[in-house]
Symmetry: C2
Subunit: 191 residues, 2 copies
């Protein structure tokens, strides 16, 4: 058994497959992601892919979903650790920018997925937005933020902004600077 549940250069086979798919998307676009190409890039036989994923879209979906789930866990911890609504929001922004930054453009791939696949990501979207809205709401009640914004809507816009901040990082290569400016924009917006 070469690599059943174990690892090769530190990664699960599943993770290697996902990584190969993401790299292919970045390079050739969604259309360039074929089972054969992923298999080649991941260094496994094409047949092996079918032991893990039924088709190409499942791989991309898994990549996005896994990334989202991981981001959610970290977000929870970061926000919980910060004291006060303002600090929580600032940490949330900084973390979201940093997280979406190192993962490439993964955050904005949703649009290329089928409607069905996109629904499977709704759960994470709702959870994250809820966390943002909660902070905004609590902060507004506390008087820490301005209260003339529709909380749900503001949370939605902030979420989109954070989602695409990763692309900004990719462009400038400077996570810290993007994060700082994003904090200014978001906190300025609610303060």
């Amino acid at each position: 058994m070469k690599d059943a549940t174990g690892s090769l250069d530190g990664l699960t086979l599943r993770q290697r497959i996902i990584a190969a798919a993401l790299s292919l998307i970045a390079e050739r676009g969604m259309a360039g992601v074929t089972m054969s190409a992923v298999a080649g890039d991941a260094g496994v036989a094409r047949q092996t892919l079918y032991n893990h994923f039924p088709d190409v879209e499942s791989i991309v979906l898994a990549a996005t979903a896994e990334h989202a789930a991981e981001a959610w866990d970290q977000l929870q911890r970061v926000v919980a650790a910060a004291a006060g609504s303002r600090a929580k929001l600032e940490q949330l922004v900084r973390h979201a920018v940093a997280a979406s930054g190192h993962g490439g453009h993964a955050g904005s791939l949703e649009a290329g997925l089928s409607a069905e696949a996109q629904e499977k990501l709704l759960d994470h979207t709702r959870k994250t937005r809820g966390a943002i809205a909660e902070i905004l709401e609590y902060g507004a009640a506390e008087g820490a933020f301005r209260s003339d914004l529709d909380v749900e809507m503001a949370a939605m816009l902030i979420q989109y902004l954070l989602g695409s901040a990763g692309a900004a990082v990719g462009e400038t290569g400077d996570v810290a600077r993007v994060a700082t400016e994003a904090v200014k924009v978001v906190l300025g917006a609610v303060d």
Copy 2:
């Protein structure tokens, strides 16, 4: 000649092809966009597609580029018509939200394109960002906005926010409300 340069139900053949492709993406995702499917959806023979586009990605690229070019023209007019930096920025935001709203998720499809195709869209990205930065810069000098933001970076973030505002419209179906909140977020951010 059934439909050479003319129109069928008001649309150019080229426009019908692009519309079919966008509808297929929304429904089945990028992977679901095949020449055969587009042809079927657009109501033309598969062969005909090759008279207009060499491959599938070209269709998606054309859709995004055409949308971008059109948006840029309208943006220019809207911004020129508004008096004062603040009004210009407000009009820009309102317009961007409305424009990306009625066109579906078209704005965020870039991530699914190949690196080569994405470069072809850079021109529009730069032009739009320049317009935003110009307004911000002029407004800050005028004292109409706060001046502690990095103009280029703020312009970039605002641009991303506007790009994905279309998705928010799609979710809520309410262009006016999203636009109003987006104006608050953006103007609050620079004011």
